[in-house]
Symmetry: C2
Amino acid sequence: MSIQNGLASSSRRYDCENCPLRPLPGFRKFERSELAFIDKLKKGELAVDKGATVLVEGRRSAHLYTVLSGWAFRYKLLSDGRRQILNYAVPGDLIGLQGGVMGEMQHSVEALSPMLLCVFERESLHELFRNHPGLAYDITWIASREERMLDENLLSVGRRSAIERTAYLIAFIGSRAKAVGLNGGRLTRIAFTQQHIADTLGLSLVHTNKTIRKLMDRKLIAWRDGGCEIIDHEGLKQLAGWEGLGKERRPLI
Amino acid sequence: MSIQNGLASSSRRYDCENCPLRPLPGFRKFERSELAFIDKLKKGELAVDKGATVLVEGRRSAHLYTVLSGWAFRYKLLSDGRRQILNYAVPGDLIGLQGGVMGEMQHSVEALSPMLLCVFERESLHELFRNHPGLAYDITWIASREERMLDENLLSVGRRSAIERTAYLIAFIGSRAKAVGLNGGRLTRIAFTQQHIADTLGLSLVHTNKTIRKLMDRKLIAWRDGGCEIIDHEGLKQLAGWEGLGKERRPLI
DNA sequence: CGCGGTTTTGAGAATCCTCAAAACCAGTGG
DNA sequence: CCACTGGTTTTGAGGATTCTCAAAACCGCG
């Protein structure tokens, strides 16, 4: 019901049993009883506009969200406005877990597209841990996965050159997007701005632009309609020296 | 029994009930039953030399470790040898959780000092999740805490200048060391090399050295006996624009 | 057509890097 | 006790990368 800053609760509601994401090959199969429990936990859905701020650094959030559709990014700010994008959230990802599980958020989350979010009560995590050890384990697995992505990002920002970093980021996001069928399973458009890339990689906008041009010259990507198009995914991975994502199926909560 | 690469199992053994770390103010109090359970899980202790590699990227590890004494760092390598240090582990920290909970390690861990490690079977996590939801919750909390530290490190490497980064890192490690009484609770010596700082911050060794000199000129730190001495902790935090660690007590498993 | 957001370009400057050598320092063996 | 060794820190110099500033071009949208 509440509408603020682009957030609005939706009237429609997907049952977890019929979740459109579950059939995707990237997710592990769940027991019927697990699905029923998750469905019980699910408090509703939230539709947010592109550009809306879903979570705010420094504030407590009573909710956790799972991305049903659309995508977003997590970021932190320095007091003078410098921004660092930490990671992206695509369909199936859990948002808000990082907030110390309880407590103040240490980062903000902003939507990169219109999104649909499943809403969970942070409090109900306790019930989940008490009654569904398998799901509790999944939560930990999800946290650990986020950590591995951060490790890789840190390696990138710390030790890869500008062009390697950029290649890595585009290949990385492309892989994740493809895995959840963001572009109908095709590996194509990534709809964000060069400013986002710059803020993810710790580069200036101008230098990011020049680096992207080099990738275009090498026919690895194209930039069209305000977004990045991957032309040679293997080439990007090779340039970055990146192995690609693991192929394990992940849980969806 | 086995000795390899500086790893050797120790004959002595601390009972978890009498763990020397638990009385420290940074850790939350545990129930007697929880302690008994953890003690049952603990498979033994491992003593490792300074410089020993505790975990290796790309390999599976059947074990998880909790640092009893000493400290270490987690890192990743690029194929040409460039190294990125991801984070440090001090007493009380859990090592090896990041390995996808199961599966191949995505990073290596190397001891910065002689260490004593409590050894746990990775397999026994399942039992923990099944029978002790409170402890399972703690594991997730620990993973989420690591994530928050990584977020902050990423912000640092991506968006802070060399001198801000260095100030941040030293203040950060100093705070953590103090919280677990690494120097008897005093906030003083941090025993590592400038190469470690460089590889943590994504800087070259030479530039790191010159940056450290600037911090010395400003009387924020001193460099003595192969280690860093903090002179003005507040000054470091202010220079870095860093708030400091949260003051919540953390679980110790 | 005008507007705001985004991308592109150019130019000069600051930061940070590499290379190379020297200084320093603790430990080892003669 | 001294010379030697390997690891670490320091210094200098030149160069590459990346940054900031500023302006123009582009583009979808109202």
